[in-house]
């Protein structure tokens, strides 16, 4: 078998329709002026727009019909995230989709369905995953005691202020468990707002110490570890999709400027020192979208197999590099203008730095890909 392996790439009519609708919706509700309005707001998103997403069933699109979702599977979330990224549309959707996936996969249809139903009905949710800055560690520090009380601090909890439900990744006598905590159980004093380099997002550090978890709000067993592994991969995939969208609009922004700015009597877009990197970005973007939709072809509600793992990791590794390069060159190619807050390049270069680390950077994924591809 070749190391190139599985190269399936399908795009269903459902996905195509959703991509079309989502792109139109995001472009309309999130023009860049609107994105800028929200940059320095507390919430970071427009609740009315979130309400519309709920009306369209987006939070539950990848959840089963039994809990009120659309039953379309996680592959339909990929085009939606690409559309969000293209319009730099923030808010709790991505975090909510991932929290839903984690609960769904960890509960295998047994417990957690009340919260899943709430999510499908539009309650924002998120995962409290990171105990440290190391995406690669498997160690969980946050602890669930035998008294049902949590002890530990979680950082970079995505869109935590918006979340009505927090899925806390903890360990109980060394075994991973999920504690499903309502937002009200966490006092404001236990939360600290992060200042993120990507100002279209919000996150918090949360000290869960002392939070009492109801007995039926804990998920245990072998499904939990597998679900965690899968959701780390799916987090990479959805962020890769988002990054593909952001890189596309970033490139458009740069190219537009290169077609209008004149220096030395010529449009600067005629200079190959600028032109050729734009082609490299376009080709990296093309590769990214191909990896992303290849991965979307291989993921469904079942535990992810080896091909799907490879595909998700490649998607995240490629997307990260692409957006970083696109953002970096966007600043440089706008000259002094690119150094300003006013220039849109800052939105992309700052987002790129956030996205590159989230759910593991490119080296993180390549290190694991090496094991999967070279040690067979």
């Amino acid at each position: 078998m070749s190391v190139i392996g599985n190269t399936a790439l399908d795009f269903t009519d459902d996905q195509a329709m959703i991509l079309d609708v989502a792109r139109g919706f995001c472009a309309d509700r999130s023009p860049l002026e609107r994105v800028r309005d929200l940059l320095e707001s507390d919430l970071g998103y427009d609740p009315a727009v979130w309400g519309e997403m709920v009306d369209m069933g987006w939070p539950g699109m990848a959840l089963p019909e039994a809990v009120g979702g659309s039953g379309l599977g996680v592959s339909v979330a990929v085009p939606v995230c690409e559309a969000l990224g293209r319009s730099l549309l923030g808010g709790p959707l991505l975090a909510t989709l991932l929290a839903g996936q984690l609960l769904l996969r960890a509960s295998a249809g047994r417990d957690g369905s009340a919260v899943l139903a709430a999510i499908a009905a539009g309650a924002p949710a998120t995962i409290a995953l990171l105990d440290s800055a190391d995406w690669g560690t498997e160690q969980i520090r946050c602890e669930l005691g035998s008294d049902g009380v949590l002890r530990g601090v979680k950082q970079q909890v995505m869109e935590a202020a918006a979340a009505e439900w927090l899925v806390v990744v903890a360990q109980e006598q060394g075994e991973p468990v999920l504690a499903v905590v309502p937002a009200a159980a966490v006092a404001p004093a236990a939360r600290r707002d992060h200042v993120l380099i990507d100002a279209t997002r919000r996150a918090q550090t949360i000290d869960f110490s002392g939070v009492q978890v109801a007995g039926d709000a804990v998920l245990r067993g072998p499904d939990v570890a597998r679900a965690l592994r899968d959701v780390r991969l799916l987090g990479g995939l959805l962020l890769a999709a988002e990054a593909a969208g952001s890189a596309a609009s970033c490139l458009d922004t740069t190219v537009e400027y290169l077609k209008t700015r004149t220096q030395f009597g010529k449009l600067i877009g005629s200079y190959q020192a600028l032109k050729h990197p734009c082609v490299e970005i376009l080709m990296a973007l093309d590769a990214t979208r191909s990896f992303v939709y290849h991965a979307a072809t291989l993921v469904d509600d079942a535990p992810l197999d080896g091909d799907a793992e490879i595909a998700c990791r490649m998607a995240k590794a490629q997307a990260t590099e692409t957006l970083k390069y696109a953002g970096d060159r966007a600043v440089q190619f706008h000259g002094g203008m690119g150094f300003t807050w006013e220039c849109d390049a800052q939105l992309y270069v700052r987002r790129a730095q956030w996205v590159q680390q989230a759910f593991g950077d490119a080296q993180h994924h390549r290190k694991r890909l090496a094991r999967l591809l070279l040690d067979r």
Partner: protein, 401 residues
């Protein structure tokens, strides 16, 4: 869309596969070219000519071309399947590529009955080798400025000037030739004409040029008062540029009109990884070195991206932003990644990386060293990577010239 059923396709695939399996030639004991740009000796030429003739006689070449000209007149999907099977079975190339992929489809498309009857069969059988006379010493990327002069005199054109980098120029019977018939034309492109020119006439002198690999493969081709019949002109005077550009579209394979056949041997990254299994760095297997591993994964991803981008190109809903981006950029993506991969294969050999073909200790006889050097044929020949990037920037991104 092809009318051929999946069952028919599968049956045909099985049939070609079995034939390739049974007829794959034995190792001739000398290095075989991996692309048509590497045919340097009579020995290689005769071997490849015989192989192409055999493939054609079996009915697996020019399948979509009309029967009366040596083809089979069947749906091009059959040829695509045959090509895939040739690749899969690792058989030698069908070397007459300028004929099969450029001149032939062009003649089949816009040639006269006389031209079709005269040229097509010989292209398929391998009897008539074709070469391409586009580039000149002073005009390569800027092909539109080509200066080789073709002056009409009665029933003849008189040719004066120089072409260069003429692949198989010393073996060829015919040349597709871009020449200037009107030096006064207002636009430089309008002064060019296209010829199907014979090579074996007095005044045409192809002199082999030695390549960076130390081998031969192309010529500098001198034209001194060479006379060819006026009937060699294709189309009309002044249409040369348009026709030359048309030949490029056939590169996309049998579906686009090319005769088919394997044009180059693909060296997969798996070959490199297998080759490196016993290489050591710092006393440990190189394949365990973290830096090497990271680089290898990047190479695997580059190669996989080429395949995935080809897949995605077939899904219109996923190509809405820049519909022609993928077909235009995949040559650049593929050829550049191939070059980097082969360079890396040398890099990873330790001290052996410094050896070359002819050294008894060179890994695989210096295969990777030679393959790397030859990989520039695809990043320079057929339009350089930089010029490709200009084309993509201007035609896809709409950036100014």
């Amino acid at each position: 869309m092809s009318q051929v059923s999946d069952r028919e396709k599968a049956e045909f695939r099985q049939q070609v596969g079995a034939w390739m399996q049974a007829n794959r030639p034995a190792d001739p004991g000398f290095l075989l070219p991996q692309s048509f740009m590497e045919v340097g000796s009579e020995q290689q030429l005769e071997f490849l000519r015989e192989w192409q003739h055999k493939v054609w006689s079996a009915g697996y070449l020019g399948m979509a071309w009309p029967r009366q000209y040596g083809g089979q007149g069947v749906d091009p999907v059959y040829q695509s399947i045959a090509d895939q099977e040739m690749r899969r079975h690792g058989v030698p190339i069908c070397f007459n590529v300028i004929g099969l992929g450029w001149a032939g489809p062009l003649i089949n498309d816009i040639g006269t009955e006389a031209e079709k009857a005269r040229y097509l069969k010989g292209i398929l059988s391998g009897e008539d080798i074709w070469c391409q006379g586009f580039s000149e010493p002073d005009h390569g990327s800027d092909l539109g400025s080509a200066q080789l002069r073709a002056r009409r005199e009665g029933d003849e054109y008189v040719l004066n000037g120089t072409k260069i980098w003429t692949t198989m120029g010393n073996f060829a019977k015919y040349m597709i030739l871009l020449a200037r018939t009107n030096p006064q034309a207002e636009r430089k492109y309008d002064g060019l004409s296209f010829f199907l020119a014979p090579m074996q006439v007095p005044g045409i002198d192809p002199r082999p040029i030695r390549k960076l690999t130390g081998e031969y493969g192309f010529t500098e081709t001198f034209f001194t008062d060479a006379r060819i019949p006026a009937s060699c002109l294709m189309g009309e005077e002044g249409q040369g540029w348009k026709i030359a550009m048309r030949t490029l579209q056939y590169e996309r394979g049998a579906e686009a009109g090319a005769a088919g056949g394997l044009a180059f041997v693909r060296i997969a990254i798996d070959d490199m990884i297998a080759e490196l299994a016993d290489v050591e760095r710092d006393g440990e297997p190189a394949l365990q070195d973290p830096a090497v591993r990271d680089q290898l994964v990047q190479m695997i991803m580059e190669e996989k991206a080429v395949v995935l981008c080809d897949r995605r190109a077939a899904i219109p809903a996923l190509t809405t932003d820049y519909p022609f981006s993928l077909p235009l950029s995949n040559k650049l993506r593929f050829t550049e990644s191939t070059r980097r991969m082969r360079q890396m294969a040398i890099n990873l050999q330790g001290a052996d990386g410094g050896l070359y073909v002819g050294d008894a200790a060179a890994r695989q006889g210096g295969f990777w060293q030679r393959a790397y050097l030859n990989s520039f044929s695809a990043t320079i020949g057929g339009g350089t990577s930089q010029v490709q990037a200009n084309i993509i920037a201007e035609h896809i991104l709409g950036l100014p010239k």
